[in-house]
C-alpha cells in the first residue's frame, strides 16, 4: 500500500508540473493582458504607458524566465503578487479557500444524503411507483442547471418572504445560524444536481449486484431485506458511487462559478473567472494549481477508499 501511495504521489507531482506548464502557456496565448484591461477601464490605450506598466509588473521578461520565477517563488512559499490588486496573491486567495471548500463539502454531503438512499430504494423497488418517482426526481435534477435552480430559489424567497440570504460572507464565528443559512441554500441547489447523478449510479450498480448469485444465496438463507440490501448488496455496489462522489467533489471546487455568483459567495471559482477576465496571471495560475491539487488529492482519497471498502483491491 505504501509503495502504491508513493507511486501515486510521484505521478501527482508530474501531473502538477504538466498542469503548471499548460496553464502558464494557455494564459499567455489568450489575447490581451492585464494592462489592456487596465486601459479598458480608462477608455484608451497609450503604447508607451503600456510598456512602462508591463515593465513594472515584470511582464516584459521572456516567458521562460517568468515561468522559472513563478515556480521558484512557489518553492519559497511565495505565490507572487496580484497584478490587479497589487497585493500578495496568497493574501487574496486565502479567504476564498474556506468558502469554496465548505460549499463543495456541504454540496457533496447533500448529494450523497439524497442520492444514495434514493438510488437504493429505486433499485430495490425496481419498476414500482416509488422507482418511477425517484427516477423523475433524479432526471429533473440532471436537467436543471444548479445556477438556474439557485436563481429560482432566490426569486422565490424574495417574492414570497421578501428575504434573501446574506450577500456578504458571514463567518461561522460571527453568526453560526446565518452562516448555515447562507451555505445551505447554495449547497441544496448544487447538491440536488449532483445527487441525481449519484442516485442513477447507485441504482444501476445496485441492480447489477442484486442479480448476483451471492445475493440470491443470502435471500435463500432467509436473511432479511435490510441485511441483504445494506450488508451484502450495498457494500459491493458502492465502489462506482465512491468514484462518482470523488469526481463530483473535485469538479465542485472549480465548478461552482455560477452558484457562487448567484448567491454572492466570495469563493475560489467566482474569483478565478474574474481573475481570468482581468488576466491576473499570478492569481489564475495559483488558483488553477490549487484546483489541480484538490483533484489529485480527491482521486487519491478515492483510490485509498477502494482499498478500505474492497479487500480484493487491498490484496491485489
Amino acid at each position: 500500500m505504501k509503495s502504491y501511495i508513493a507511486q501515486r504521489l510521484v505521478i501527482a507531482v508530474l501531473t502538477l508540473f504538466g498542469m503548471s506548464v499548460v496553464i502558464f502557456v494557455l494564459l499567455r496565448m489568450a489575447p490581451g493582458d492585464i494592462v489592456d484591461v487596465l486601459f479598458s477601464a480608462a477608455g484608451y490605450v497609450n503604447p508607451s504607458e503600456k510598456q512602462a506598466i508591463l515593465r513594472e509588473l515584470g511582464m516584459d521578461k521572456p516567458y521562460w524566465r517568468q515561468y522559472v520565477e513563478w515556480i521558484t517563488q512557489i518553492f519559497h512559499g511565495d505565490l507572487g503578487k496580484s497584478y490587479r490588486y497589487d497585493l500578495p496573491a496568497w493574501q487574496i486567495i486565502r479567504p476564498l479557500l474556506p468558502v469554496t471548500i465548505e460549499l463543495a463539502m456541504l454540496s457533496t454531503i447533500v448529494a450523497v444524503a439524497l442520492g444514495v438512499p434514493t438510488g437504493i430504494v429505486s433499485a430495490v423497488r425496481q419498476d414500482g411507483l416509488l422507482d418511477y418517482a425517484m427516477r423523475v426526481f433524479s432526471l429533473a435534477g440532471l436537467s436543471m442547471p444548479s445556477f438556474w435552480l439557485g436563481m429560482v430559489i432566490i426569486l422565490a424567497l424574495v417574492s414570497w418572504l421578501a428575504w434573501i440570504p446574506p450577500l456578504t460572507y458571514v463567518r461561522p464565528t460571527e453568526n453560526f445560524w446565518l452562516h448555515a443559512v447562507q451555505f445551505m441554500l447554495p449547497a441544496l441547489a448544487v447538491g440536488y444536481r449532483s445527487s441525481a447523478l449519484i442516485m442513477r449510479i447507485t441504482r444501476s450498480a445496485m441492480l447489477e449486484v442484486l442479480r448476483e448469485d451471492y445475493i440470491r444465496t443470502a435471500w435463500a438463507k432467509g436473511q432479511g431485506e435490510w441485511a441483504v440490501v445494506w450488508r451484502h448488496a450495498l457494500k459491493n455496489a458502492i465502489l462506482p458511487v465512491v468514484t462518482v462522489v470523488g469526481i463530483e467533489f473535485a469538479f465542485l471546487i472549480g465548478g461552482l462559478v455560477v452558484t457562487e455568483t448567484v448567491f454572492n459567495l466570495p469563493g475560489v471559482a467566482r474569483f478565478l473567472v474574474e481573475a481570468i477576465l482581468w488576466r491576473d496571471y499570478p492569481i489564475v495560475q495559483n488558483l488553477v494549481m490549487f484546483i489541480a491539487i484538490v483533484v489529485i488529492l480527491s482521486n487519491l482519497a478515492v483510490d485509498l477508499l477502494y482499498g478500505l471498502l474492497d479487500p480484493r483491491v487491498r490484496y491485489a
Binding site: L38, A42, G43, E49, I53, Y85, D86, V158, N264, E274
Partner: protein
C-alpha cells in the same frame, strides 16, 4: 460659497438653466425632510469590483467613481441636491470661494482652512498643485499616474500656482469657462501630496465625509463617518457599505429584499424599474440621464468608411426610435453628440434634430441611405461586406445586432464580431476595425469634455480618426467663448457638422431609473452618474 463670476455669465447660465428645467422623473424624487437625522449605515449595490481601487484619476468608469467618491473632496462639486448639473449648480468644496480673473485667463481658488486628510495631515494648496501638476503631466510634477485618461481636460492649463497655503491659481492659455465644470466632476478629486498615487489603488486617504474602514476584495467596501470632516454636522450617516454583487438578478433581488437600500447608478432599465415598482410599490424610482451614449464608430482611414457617403448612409439607415423601442423598450433618449433637453443642455431641439441624418421618417431615411450607397458605387446586387465589432457585453451586443439588421436593408452585409473587454480599447485605439457599436460615457455634460476627448484629432479616444481642421477650430472657439448664448450657437453648429460628416453617429443617450428605498433621503440622481456619489447629505429615516 458662490463664485464671483462675471454677472453676465451667471445671468445667462441662469436663463439656460431655467430653459432646461429639472430632469423628469418617472417616479418621484425622494421627499426632502426638514429635519435630517444622524446615524445609521447605508447599504448600496455595487455591480463589480472597483477596477483600480480608489484611484479615480486612473480610470474612466462609474464602477470606480461611485464607491470611491465618499472618500474624497474636490475643489468644487456639483450641488448634490440639484438633479440638473450646470455652471450654476457648482458649489465650493475644498475651495471656499473662487474668482475668474484677467478676462477668464486665471482661475483663483481660496481654500478652506483647517481641513485635515484622513491620516491627520493638514490639507494645503500644495496638495492641489500636486494633483493638477500630476494630471497635466507638468515637467516638474511631483507625482505620476500610470494611466492618465483625462490629461486632455487640462491641456489649456499653463501653470498651477500655490502662492500661499490657502490660495491656488490656475493660469490658462485662453479663457475656458468649462474648466470649472471639469473641476466639479466626480472624476476630479484632490489627492494628498504626501501619499504616493499608486497607494490609491489599494487604500484611500482623502478629505471626504467618509473614511475607508475595510475593502474586502470582491465582497464589499465599507466606510465610516469622518469625525474631522470640514462641513460641520456632516455626514449624517455613520457609515456606508457598498456590497459587490456581480449577478444582475441577485442585485435586483437584494434591492427588493431591502438588503441594499439603493441601486447601482445606470443599473436599472425601464423594464427592471417597472418590475421592481410592481413588486415593491414603495420603492422610489427616479429617471436620470447617465451621460452615456450609444454610438457607431466608423474607421475613416479604412474603406468603405473613408467615404463620407457610406458613413452618411449608415447614419441615415439606423432608425433611432426603433432601436430605442427594441433595445431599451423606449427608455432611452434620442439625441446627437450632446444630449438634448431635458437630459442635457447643449443638444439641439426636437425640430432641428428631425432635419439631421437618421432622425427623419424611417422609410425616407432608408431611401436616402440607399441612394447614398448607390452614389458611392454600391448596389444591392453587389453588397458591401464588412465586419462590425462590439464588446462582448449584452448591452453592446443587443445594439450591434440591431445595427446589423438595419445595415442589411441598405446593402451592407455586416457580420458581428464580439471583442472581449481586454482587447476592446486596444483594438479601437489602434484602428483595427472597420465599423463598431460603442458606448461612450462623458464626465460632465459639457462640449469641452466630449469633443476634446472623443473628436479631437490627436485624442486616443478618437476611435474614428476623423480629423477636420474646421471642426477643430470650432471646438476651440466654443471652448473659449464666455458668452453662453454664443457658445451654445457654436456647439449646435458643431453637432450639425459632425452629423453631416457621418462622424460617430449617436444612436441614443442611456437613461437610468435609479431605484432606492423611501427611507433614503437626499440621494438625488443627477443627469450624469459620475458626479453624485459624495453622499455627505444623505441620511436614513429609520
Amino acid at each position: 460659497m458662490r463664485s464671483r463670476m462675471l454677472p453676465s455669465l451667471v445671468a445667462l447660465l441662469a436663463i439656460l438653466d431655467v430653459l432646461v428645467g429639472g430632469a423628469p422623473a418617472i417616479g418621484q424624487n425622494p421627499p426632502a425632510s426638514p429635519t435630517p437625522r444622524s446615524g445609521g449605515v447605508l447599504t448600496l449595490a455595487q455591480r463589480e469590483e472597483t477596477p483600480q481601487g480608489f484611484a479615480i484619476h486612473e480610470t474612466s468608469t462609474v464602477s470606480t467613481t461611485w464607491p470611491a467618491m465618499p472618500c474624497f473632496s474636490n475643489l468644487v462639486l456639483f450641488d448634490p441636491r440639484k438633479p440638473q448639473e450646470s455652471a450654476d449648480t457648482v458649489l465650493g468644496e475644498l475651495a471656499e470661494k473662487w474668482s475668474w480673473q484677467d478676462n477668464y485667463r486665471n482661475l483663483v481658488f481660496f481654500l478652506r482652512k483647517g481641513v485635515k486628510w484622513h491620516d491627520g495631515q493638514p490639507f494645503t494648496s500644495k496638495d492641489v498643485k500636486f494633483t493638477f501638476d500630476m494630471l497635466r503631466e507638468a515637467p516638474d510634477a511631483q507625482g505620476k499616474l500610470r494611466i492618465n485618461p483625462r490629461k486632455d481636460w487640462y491641456a489649456n492649463v499653463v501653470n498651477v500656482e500655490a502662492p500661499d497655503p490657502s490660495t491656488v491659481i490656475f493660469h490658462l492659455k485662453r479663457p475656458q469657462p468649462s474648466l470649472l465644470l471639469m473641476l466639479a466632476s466626480g472624476y476630479t478629486p484632490i489627492y494628498a501630496a504626501h501619499v504616493p498615487p499608486a497607494q490609491y489603488r489599494t487604500a484611500c486617504v482623502g478629505t471626504g465625509p467618509y473614511k475607508l474602514k475595510e475593502w474586502r476584495k470582491g465582497e464589499f467596501i465599507e466606510y465610516v463617518k469622518n469625525p474631522d470632516y470640514f462641513v460641520k454636522g456632516r455626514p449624517y450617516l455613520d457609515g456606508l457599505k457598498y456590497v459587490i454583487i456581480k449577478e444582475r438578478g441577485t442585485r435586483v433581488a437584494a434591492l427588493q429584499a431591502g438588503q441594499v437600500q439603493a441601486a447601482f447608478p445606470g443599473d436599472t432599465s425601464k423594464t427592471a424599474a417597472e418590475q421592481l415598482k410592481k413588486a415593491v410599490p414603495q420603492l422610489v424610482i427616479t429617471g436620470a440621464a447617465e451621460n452615456v451614449n450609444e454610438n457607431v464608430i466608423m474607421n475613416t482611414k479604412k474603406p468603405p468608411f473613408d467615404n463620407v457617403k457610406v458613413r452618411l448612409a449608415v447614419a441615415h439607415a439606423i432608425d433611432r426610435r426603433a432601436l430605442n423601442q427594441a433595445v431599451h423598450q423606449g427608455g432611452a433618449a434620442i439625441g446627437v453628440s450632446m444630449p438634448s433637453k431635458p437630459w442635457g443642455i447643449w443638444g439641439p431641439a426636437e425640430a432641428t434634430l428631425a432635419t439631421l441624418p437618421g432622425y427623419g421618417k424611417p422609410a425616407e431615411e432608408k431611401a436616402r441611405a440607399k441612394k447614398l450607397m448607390a452614389e458611392a458605387g454600391h448596389s444591392p446586387e453587389k453588397p458591401v461586406k464588412v465586419e462590425i465589432v462590439t464588446r462582448a457585453i449584452a448591452v453592446y451586443v443587443d445594439m450591434a445586432s440591431f445595427i446589423v439588421n438595419e445595415l442589411k436593408q441598405i446593402g451592407i452585409e455586416a457580420t458581428l464580431k464580439q471583442i472581449e473587454t481586454a482587447q476592446w480599447h486596444a483594438m479601437a485605439t489602434r484602428g483595427e476595425y472597420q465599423i463598431g457599436a460603442n458606448l461612450t460615457g462623458i464626465g460632465i455634460d459639457d462640449p469641452d469634455a466630449n469633443y476634446y476627448e472623443n473628436f479631437a484629432c490627436n485624442s486616443p479616444r478618437n476611435y474614428t480618426f476623423y480629423c477636420n481642421e474646421q471642426i477643430a477650430a470650432m471646438v476651440d472657439k466654443q471652448s473659449g467663448e464666455i458668452d453662453p448664448r454664443k457658445r451654445l450657437a457654436i456647439v449646435l453648429d458643431i453637432q450639425k457638422k459632425l452629423e453631416e460628416e457621418g462622424v460617430r453617429p449617436t444612436l441614443d443617450w442611456r437613461v437610468d431609473n435609479f431605484a432606492q428605498w423611501p427611507q433614503v433621503k437626499n440621494l438625488v440622481p443627477h443627469n450624469n452618474f459620475y458626479n453624485y456619489g459624495r453622499l455627505q447629505d444623505v441620511w436614513v429615516d429609520k
